[in-house]
């Protein structure tokens, strides 16, 4: 039966199909045969008729028919007749519109049937049709959609696919290429996501396509790894946040927000993501950007506060956000001073950068020296022997502290800890740890060290070196000296500084808890460890074999004696010497006796413990006493575990460094001849010293790192390191003093200052936003100044005269005062007359001379932006043109004369007039004797505000400055705010009573990033206004002068109640400027 219906249908349609290429017929037959067993004859018949109908729809619709028939042979078993029929109907509709579309639809249909099931076939067909817009490109996009169906529906449900289509459709409106690329990668991209995250992924994509479609490609390419940075349970919520941000309009692209936030979350502990995203979601209703910025800020913020403190910070920001979106956004961008302040208040950790100045003054107070404070990291970077980036130390002039302190849960304790660190280092300086003199006796211990001096080839470079040279085991000696000296220092600190005692004791107790178990150590190590404990006030924690108690007891007695108030560093050295003798008498072996025999030890009486004057009891024989070293068959001695708050103590290195510095300064007069140091000597010294671990400093061969180290050390000490040791015979001091400075290249020294910037939208400052780079302006031609004077000779004379008239009398007589130097005769007579007449006369009948001091300081701020390059004549050209319209000959002669004039003297630019006016003003100022500074500013971007010093307040007008004037040239942009702030700073350094800031510009403030975009003016104007206000608050009178004819509109806002003037006729600037200044100060 099936066979018969097949043959029947074949025969029936034979004729219709014969007109088409052969594959049509072949596929028809194959399809019929495949379906014959699954469909009823009537269904089969309907199927065949639909196919035949397809062929007739258009010229190329037969191709669709081929695919239709081929699909018939390929339907999966679950294909129902309904589905097959639907496909047919959809295919007919499509073929009517676009045969190729139908072709790809039909070609994908069997696969799709398998992927989404027969029930969804129509919906699928519809999705593709939505992409079809009647043109070729859309048709191929829709075709592509059908083609990817099998892969796509492996990862998407049909409902989700419709969302994808919305996205692709949106994207296609902008770019078919992009849409096609995204569609092609969609299955693979989506496959990498968790099922729940796919829809949010598409949602965000859709939003992206609407606002910044070009980023979709990036998103598809890079989005997945970014999303994977977010905790898997939260990715959906994160994407929805990103989608909300994409819905708004903002400067930054939504993708950028997404990428930054995802990267930021990647740096945050995934366990905190829940809390972080929850807090971000609270912000989103007010500003989705703030929410994204909040996420982006997380790594920075969470570095400073704990996750449980985060909400407090977020809430504070939320309140600002509710009041003002701009303010809140700036807050969460961390571009607001308030955000910083609140963060700082919440944070329990102490940052050295914030307390450094306080600690510097503190240490200066303690030591009486000009110490500076730096991070321990910077010391390690110097490569001069210190390697640990986190331990406190000092090199005798600078105290190095860890950058952060966060060992306690609250700020006070952390600061106290930092202070204990600083105090210990300062105490090393204050109590003379680095003042060791080999020949000076101590105050407590008898001097015995001389007995151990051995013959040496050359005298020791430093006293510390001479001391350590006494010991065969230098490491042991160094450790013992460190313990002794630290014990002495701690005792002195406790004695002198009662207030810090509590914190110091606490730190000591903490350190004691961290000490390794002493019973496990070989004996000599245990001995040293016990000394460490005792030095930390841990006498009760000393454990020692009972049968050896005497040695330990003596050692503890020595340590106690050293803690007497009068002890000096020389005493510490003597103590170290005595301890060394005891230490080497103890074999470094494990005592096999059972641990129960270890017991506490009481220190011996100081007097008893004190070694005898003559020599040590051990190896002393005759005058040449000997100190022992490590014995045979012992375990290697290991230095005790470090003590945190005491940091790195390197007396030998510091001693050397001080010596080098002294040498570099040429030694002090009257002191003994400073010994020149040869590099060989240094190298030998360093090789010996146990304080420097050259291997740890740099990998690589030892010689190279030694060389590097030496040159670093020389540099640190201010001595130029010699290349080939040619200074061997010469004193280093000769080499270093003069030439060091002479060789300095003539590059201007740039000092960087940081200033906040006012964000009027956020109504808050952006902290440390602008970097102002101050440098002296280069010197130019020396003729300019005189030339300008000559050119304006008349004006100069006039100005000078005007200003001379202003020259104040030193005293001015003021009359009618209630008290004064003498009677004012007129008033006195009046008084007498009235008195006689019985009236009640005024008592004000004295006069006095009041000193009128003219005490003015003025800072001139000259705009050196590129716009000042404009030629002045150009501005006026249109007037000229009109005049000569009728008479070409007249025009020609004018033109010729103009050309000639231009050749002899080039056309003047705005800047030239600014310069000339400045010259005139300077003569005026010199006449009147006001303090003045002349500065130029320009720059590009907030990190690069250039501030040129032409004449600083404390410089006097000389040729150098005249030459600098010539170099005033147009450079770049006009970021006025920071320039004004810096000029304010300069003015505040003067002690004049009247301070004036005179701003000379040619247009509105403008710079890259000085406002939301290039065209925005408000931001720059508001910041400038704020800067001027700040100056006013400091008691400075600001005055703005512009040559921009359009200046009135913005100057009105910028200067509100301050003085300003627009000089419309720029040629009059040279005469106008001095006049204005005179008026301002009269």
């Amino acid at each position: 039966m099936p066979v018969s219906i097949v043959t029947e249908l074949l025969a029936r349609h034979q004729e219709r199909l014969s007109g088409f290429p052969a594959p049509l017929g072949q596929q028809f037959e194959a399809g019929l045969r495949a379906l014959a067993n699954r469909l009823t004859p009537s269904q089969l018949q309907a199927w065949a008729e639909t196919g035949v109908e397809l062929t007739a729809l258009s010229l190329r619709s037969w191709e669709a028919a081929v695919e239709y028939f081929r699909a018939g042979a390929n339907y999966p078993p679950q294909a129902t007749w309904d589905a097959i029929e639907t496909i047919g109907r959809d295919a007919l509709q499509m073929a009517a519109e676009s045969a190729p579309l139908a072709v790809s639809f039909l070609r994908a249909a069997p696969g799709a049937m398998e992927a989404i099931g027969p029930a969804n076939i129509h919906a699928w067909a519809e999705l593709g049709r939505r992409l079809y817009k009647g043109n070729w490109k859309s048709s191929s996009l829709a075709a592509q959609f059908y083609e990817v169906a099998p892969e796509l529906f492996r990862v998407l449900r049909i409902g989700q696919a419709s969302r994808l289509i919305i996205f692709i459709d949106e994207l296609a409106r902008h770019s078919y290429e992009l849409a096609s690329a995204c569609l092609a990668s969609a299955p693979a991209v989506l496959a990498r996501l968790d099922e729940d995250d796919r829809l949010p992924f598409i949602t965000f994509a859709t939003e992206l396509a609407q606002t910044s479609w070009a980023d979709s490609r990036l998103y598809f390419d890079r989005g997945v790894p970014l999303i994977e940075k977010v905790h898997s349970a939260l990715r959906e919520r994160f994407l929805l946040l990103a989608a909300q941000a994409a819905r708004g309009h903002h400067q930054r692209s939504a993708y950028q927000y997404f990428e930054d936030a995802a990267n930021a979350l990647g740096e945050v502990d995934p366990n905190d993501h829940q809390q972080v995203i929850m807090l971000a979601e609270q912000l989103a209703p007010y500003s989705p950007f703030a929410a994204m910025d909040f996420l982006t800020a997380m790594p920075t913020v969470l570095q400073r506060i704990r996750i449980d403190e985060l909400e407090a910070w977020q809430q504070a920001g939320l309140r600002i956000l509710q009041a003002s979106a701009e303010g809140g956004e700036a807050y969460f961008r961390l571009q607001s001073t308030r955000a910083e302040d609140i963060l700082e208040n919440l944070s329990s950790r102490v940052e050295l950068s914030r307390v450094g100045e306080v600690l510097r003054l503190y240490c200066k107070a303690l030591t009486g020296r000009n110490v500076s404070i730096q991070t321990a990291e910077s010391l390690a970077e110097k490569g001069i022997g210190w390697v640990d980036e986190h331990r406190a130390s000092t090199d005798g002039t600078t105290i190095f502290l860890p950058e952060l302190m966060e060992r306690f849960p609250n700020k006070e304790d952390n600061f106290a800890a930092m202070k204990v660190f600083a105090t210990h280092q300062a105490a090393h300086i204050e109590f003379g740890s680095f003042q060791f003199e080999f020949d000076r006796p101590g105050a407590v211990f008898p001097t015995r060290r001389h007995a151990f001096v051995r013959d040496r080839e050359r005298p020791a470079t430093t006293d510390m070196e001479a001391f350590f040279d006494l010991f065969p085991d230098r490491q042991l000696a160094s450790d013992l000296f460190t313990i002794a000296e630290d014990a002495r220092i701690d005792a002195r600190v406790k004695d002198e500084y009662g207030g810090i005692r509590r914190h110091l004791v606490r730190m000591q107790a903490e350190e004691l808890e961290r000490r390794p178990p002493v019973e496990m150590m070989p004996l000599r190590n245990a001995f040293v460890e016990n000394l460490v404990r005792a030095s930390l006030d841990g006498l009760h924690l000393v454990r020692w074999p009972r049968d050896r108690a005497e040695a330990m007891s003596r050692a503890l007695g020595i340590l106690t004696a050293l803690q007497a108030p009068g002890a000096t560093v020389e005493d510490a050295a003597e103590a170290a010497l005595a301890l060394y003798e005891i230490a080497v008498s103890i074999p470094n072996i494990h005592d096999d006796v059972d641990p129960g025999s270890w017991d506490a030890v009481e220190p011996m009486e100081a007097g008893q413990a004190m070694p005898m004057e003559a020599a040590g009891e051990g190896g002393a024989q005759g005058s040449q006493a000997q100190l022992g070293g490590a014995g045979e068959g012992e375990e290697e001695y290991e230095s005790p575990q470090e003590i945190d708050f005491r940091g790195d103590f390197k007396p030998e290195l510091v001693d050397l460094l001080m010596k080098l510095r002294e040498n570099a300064q040429g030694g002090q007069a009257g002191q003994q001849q400073t010994m020149p140091l040869t590099p060989e000597q240094l190298a030998e010294l360093l090789a010996k010293s146990v304080e420097i671990d050259l291997d740890a400093m740099d990998e690589g061969d030892l010689d190279a790192s030694t060389g590097m180290f030496l040159s670093n050390l020389m540099k640190e000490a201010g001595t130029p390191a010699s290349e080939k040791g040619d200074q061997g015979g010469q004193p280093t001091s000769d080499n270093s003093t003069g030439e060091g400075e002479g060789e300095e290249p003539l590059k201007p020294i740039v000092t960087v200052y940081y200033y906040d910037e006012w964000d009027f939208r956020a109504q808050d400052y952006k902290p440390r936003w602008c970097a102002v780079k101050e440098a002296k302006l280069e010197e130019g031609d020396d003729g300019f100044y005189e030339k300008a004077l000559k050119e304006h000779a008349g004006l100069v004379a006039q100005t000078r005269k005007q200003f001379e008239l202003m020259k104040p009398e030193m005293f001015r007589k003021i009359k009618r005062l209630p008290d004064g130097e003498d009677f004012d005769l007129d008033s006195a007579i009046e008084w007498m007359v009235e008195k006689r007449a019985g009236a009640n006369p005024t008592e004000k009948i004295y006069w006095r001379r009041n000193k009128i001091e003219r005490d003015v300081a003025v800072a001139f701020l000259i705009d050196m932006s590129a716009s000042t390059d404009e030629e002045i004549n150009k501005r006026d050209k249109k007037y000229d043109d009109d005049d000569y319209d009728d008479d070409p000959r007249k025009y020609l002669s004018w033109w010729v004369s103009k050309r000639r004039q231009e050749l002899t003297s080039p056309p003047k630019r705005i800047i030239d007039l600014e310069k000339e006016s400045t010259v005139l003003l300077m003569t005026a100022l010199e006449t009147i004797g006001d303090q003045y500074g002349i500065y130029g500013f320009s720059g590009y971007g907030r990190d690069n505000v250039e501030f040129f010093v032409i004449k600083d307040f404390d410089e006097t007008l000389d040729q150098k400055i005249k030459n600098r004037l010539d170099k005033i040239t147009p450079i770049r942009s006009t970021r006025m705010g920071p320039a004004i702030r810096h000029a304010t700073f300069k003015l505040m350094q003067t002690d004049a009573k009247v301070k004036i800031l005179f701003l000379l510009s040619d247009g509105r403030p403008q710079d890259h990033g000085y406002g939301r975009d290039r065209t925005e003016k408000e931001y720059a104007i508001h910041d400038t206004k704020q800067a001027l206000n700040e100056a006013k608050r400091e008691g400075i009178t600001p005055f703005a002068l512009t040559v921009d004819r359009a200046g009135h509109d913005y100057l009105k806002t910028m200067c509100e109640d301050m003085g300003y003037e627009v000089v419309a006729d720029i040629e009059s600037l040279p005469s106008r400027l001095p006049t204005l200044y005179r008026r301002l100060t009269e």
Binding site: L361, A365, G499, E843
Partner: protein
């Protein structure tokens, strides 16, 4: 007119009649007492140099007391023999102090004008020690008066009266100035300063200062020592945040507060930290020194 009187507990003296009655506490640091005595005997004017609160004024008072102590016999107007004390006239100079403020002026009276001697004139007449504190602050015209008084002439010209007064035998001019904070403008002119011998005052060494603090404030020795230590530390900050180091006077104030039961840290805060500076960073630094020294 110069009657000693008492109004509501305060004792009123005419300027030339004030003298130091009780021995002021003064702890000599060096040979300044001997120097001053010798200078006085020789009538050589003295310039006291030193920072504020270092004890210059106290020193002058102490010397006035010492020099008056031998009870010089002087016949007063009544002819009685009275115990003579060295009168001490102190003038704090300020920038509006003119020559006539020192010499005297006509004042209005019911019937016309009346001449009133200024403090310097009075000192010259009675032979007192005239102490011009912070002399550089005064106007330059005062030097016209100082010069003839400080050389061999010992004359005070009174221009308005057309008189010249020869100084009484006991008269000595003592001036003080603080080289620390005055600007270059207000430096003492050489023609002036080379008429004086100069005694330099500085803050006393720690132990001596502790002794002074303990005596003046009545606090215990330990506290006095800590205060002296604090003083030394804070003075290290001079010119690096502080214009002037903390004076002994302030340390004494702090000691007095502590002696009366104010907690040490608080006492130092009000008497030292806040008194010294308004710069919050420097305040904080001083506070840290205070909390390091005091519990």
């Amino acid at each position: 007119m110069a009657e000693n009187g008492s109004v509501q507990g305060a004792t009123i003296y005419a300027v030339e009649e004030y003298s130091v009655h009780e021995e002021p506490y003064y702890l000599p640091i060096g040979d300044e007492v001997q120097l001053f005595e010798t200078a006085y005997r020789q009538r050589i004017p003295v310039l006291l140099k030193g920072p504020t609160g270092a004890g210059k004024t106290r020193f002058v008072e102490y010397m006035a007391y010492r020099l008056g102590r031998p009870m010089m016999k002087v016949s007063s107007r009544t002819g009685e023999e009275v115990e003579h004390r060295m009168p001490l006239i102190t003038v704090a100079c300020h920038e509006d102090l003119t020559a006539s403020d020192l010499v005297g002026r006509y004042l209005l009276d019911t019937d016309g004008t009346r001449w009133v001697d200024g403090p310097l004139t009075r000192a010259v007449k009675v032979g007192a020690i005239c102490y011009l504190d912070e002399v550089v602050e005064a106007r330059k015209d005062t030097t016209v008066l100082i010069h003839p008084l400080t050389d061999y002439r010992r004359l005070l010209p009174i221009e308005k009266l057309g008189q010249v007064i020869e100084a009484a035998d006991g008269f000595l001019l003592v001036i003080s100035y603080n080289p620390g904070y005055q600007s270059a403008l207000k430096d003492l002119k050489h023609s002036t300063r080379q008429r004086f011998i100069a005694i330099e005052f500085n803050y006393p060494p720690r132990d001596a200062e502790a002794q002074i603090i303990a005596h003046e404030s009545g606090c215990d020795d330990r506290t006095a020592m800590d205060l002296a230590r604090l003083g030394e530390k804070v003075r290290n900050l001079k010119e690096h945040g502080l214009g002037e180091g903390v004076s002994t006077r302030l340390l004494v104030y702090a000691g007095r507060l502590i002696a009366q039961g104010i907690p040490a840290r608080r006492a130092c805060q009000v008497a030292i930290t806040w008194a010294l500076t308004d710069d919050s960073e420097v305040q904080r630094s001083i506070e840290e020194v205070v909390t390091s020294i005091f519990e």
